[in-house]
């Protein structure tokens, strides 16, 4: 079909736009089929594929392991729900201490800074291991020795450090005029913090906060090193007993069941912000 250039009428231009769009969709579809199809074809025609399929994608072992993995996953869920609450509280507290210096609290601020540096600097698995095995060895009465509790404490400490930085970024993004305004209205400094600054700060950092929680929801699996029966450990038990890795796939599927809705939710929040305020940098015609 031939097109007359220049496109003079409105109808012509609309038609041309439709044509372009159809062509874009066709190209995207073909490219997707070719690239993904090629990739899949390459994998399933590999000489090792039948072995990989048997070892990693066995329906039999998936069914066989699923019940046990699911019961382990329940431990994960309970753990991360409790840890998340602790992390929110501790993280915010540390952020406040570090962001708003009070001379009398200098030693506390120093401690908070050291805490954040150390906790962020140690691999999570190492921290869990150190706390989980060293604390009970102290033989102190009244100190928890349960693997779930100690592992949870280690994770809460580790993630509080990260989350406190997220909160701190949020607190620092609130313009100083907001604080001045609060004080000018007759609020006390504490009230200003509580009713003016913190709500704005928290609202802005919810997406990165949830992002850290997604990471936490997977990292609870690390507590298995202390002997806790959770999803990854349950899967590993069946896998090692039978030399088949499929149970790990079952565990992965369960972790995805909680992390994917969470990632979608974070994305949704971010889009909502952009829709409300517009992007920070607008590109192209709008």
């Amino acid at each position: 079909m031939s097109t007359q250039y220049p496109l003079t009428t409105r109808e012509d231009r609309a038609q041309a736009r439709r044509r372009h769009r159809r062509r874009h969709i066709a190209i995207a579809a073909v490219s997707t089929v070719v690239i993904l199809g090629g990739l899949i074809l390459r994998i399933v025609t590999a000489s090792g594929w039948p072995n990989v399929r048997k070892s990693f994608f066995s329906e039999y072992w998936f069914r066989k392991a699923f019940g046990s993995v699911l019961s382990g996953f329940w431990t994960d869920v309970r753990m991360f729900l409790v840890i998340e609450v602790c992390v929110l509280a501790l993280g915010l507290l540390i952020a406040l201490i570090r962001t708003f210096p009070v001379p009398a609290l200098y030693p506390v601020r120093l401690l908070a800074t050291v805490f954040v540096d150390v906790m962020r600097g140690i691999p999570t698995i190492l921290l869990i291991f150190l706390i989980g095995f060293s604390v009970p060895a102290l033989n102190l009465s009244g100190v928890p020795t349960s693997a779930v509790v100690l592992g949870g404490i280690a994770l809460a400490m580790n993630y509080s450090a990260y989350v406190s930085e997220v909160f701190r970024a949020g607190l620092m993004s609130v313009h100083p005029s907001q604080g001045s305004a609060g004080l000018a209205l007759g609020l006390t400094p504490a009230q200003t913090l509580r009713h003016v600054i913190v709500p704005q700060a928290v609202g802005r950092v919810i997406p990165p906060l949830l992002n850290d929680f997604i990471a936490l929801q997977k990292d609870v699996a690390l507590v298995s090193t202390l002997g806790v029966f959770e999803a990854f450990r349950a899967a590993q038990i069946v896998a090692d007993q039978n030399f088949n890795y499929t149970p790990l796939l079952a565990a992965a599927a369960l972790y995805l069941c909680v992390t994917i809705p969470m990632t979608r939710f974070v994305d949704h929040l971010q889009w909502r912000t952009i829709r409300e305020r517009g992007p920070a940098l607008a590109l192209g015609p709008r």
Partner: protein, 286 residues
């Protein structure tokens, strides 16, 4: 600590059990691994790297199977067995190359980095779907370690351990033995390495640990102060350790032939006595 499980295959098992349990040279009755291997002459072996025998084990490698974490020193039961098999295949000490292979990856599909892996791995039917095992070179009962001052030290039956919290290593026959024979009321605590199991016992996270008998002798006598072996018991179907080779390994028939010769000549019994023996009388629990 062993990654075991049991497998009731045919005659060769018996041969090994007899050789070890009774310590008798009756093992000569063992069938030769006469898979009619066309040729097991050294120059014609199907090897990972030509001109050398590549043997794998995990790192760290534990006593009494290895000593000083140096598989190449020929000391420790499995090191000695590996060199004995190598000698039968026509490789002198200098032609044996050791590589590290973690237990978890030893059964991954795809090419292997070794000719055989010797790592206290139990032969089971399910595992034989993924790899090829040699005939057994050792048969091992399970043992329960407790503290001498605990009530469990005088247990008269396995039922006494139902209420105990039990520590055990992942991927081991000990774990299956706990699940299927002791059937504790609560999930056992499952750890990544044998060191973690021992550590959890030392900090009293668990009341008792279950390991294979040979390991128990070593642990209770030299590693854990104040501990004792409460008793030994048989894992379901027995627990035979084999050399792990890639599925369908062409070398397997020759390795079996070498093991048969070692059995017939009494070498295997001699090595077992030298490295795994005990003068302690340990009650058999049911």
């Amino acid at each position: 600590m062993p990654k075991k499980f049991l497998f009731a295959t045919a005659v060769p098992m018996l041969a090994a059990s007899v050789a070890i349990a009774a310590g008798g040279p009756t093992a000569a009755a063992a069938k030769s691994a006469s898979t009619a291997a066309s040729s097991c002459s050294t120059s014609k072996l199907a090897l990972h790297t030509a001109g050398q025998l590549t043997v794998a084990t995990d790192d760290p490698a534990y006593p009494p199977y290895f000593e000083g974490n140096k598989p190449a020193n020929g000391r420790g039961f499995e090191s000695a067995v590996a060199y004995a098999v190598a000698k039968q295949l026509g490789f002198g000490t200098s032609k044996v190359k050791w590589v590290t292979e973690a237990f978890d990856s030893s059964y991954a599909p795809g090419p292997k980095s070794f000719d055989f892996d010797i790592n206290e791995i139990s032969i089971t039917k399910a595992r034989s779907q993924a790899v090829t095992f040699s005939t057994p070179y050792y048969t091992n009962p399970q043992a329960i370690i407790v503290y001498k001052n605990s009530a469990l030290a005088h247990a008269k039956s396995l039922a006494a351990f139902k209420k105990a919290s039990i520590g055990v290593q992942i991927g081991t026959t000990s774990l299956s033995a706990v699940d299927q024979v002791i059937k504790p009321n609560s999930q056992p605590s499952v750890f990544n390495t044998s060191n973690d199991v021992v550590e959890a016992f030392k900090i009293h996270r668990v009341d008792a640990i279950v390991v294979d008998y040979a390991t128990a002798l070593y642990l209770s006598s030299s590693e854990i102060k104040g501990s004792t072996i409460a008793g030994q018991f048989t894992a379901p179907g027995g627990d035979n350790w084999g050399l792990l080779m890639k599925k369908g390994s062409a070398l397997a028939p020759c390795v079996d032939k070498a093991l048969a010769k070692l059995r017939a000549s009494g070498t295997l019994t001699k090595l077992t006595k030298r490295w795994m023996s005990s003068k302690v009388a340990v009650p058999v629990l049911k």
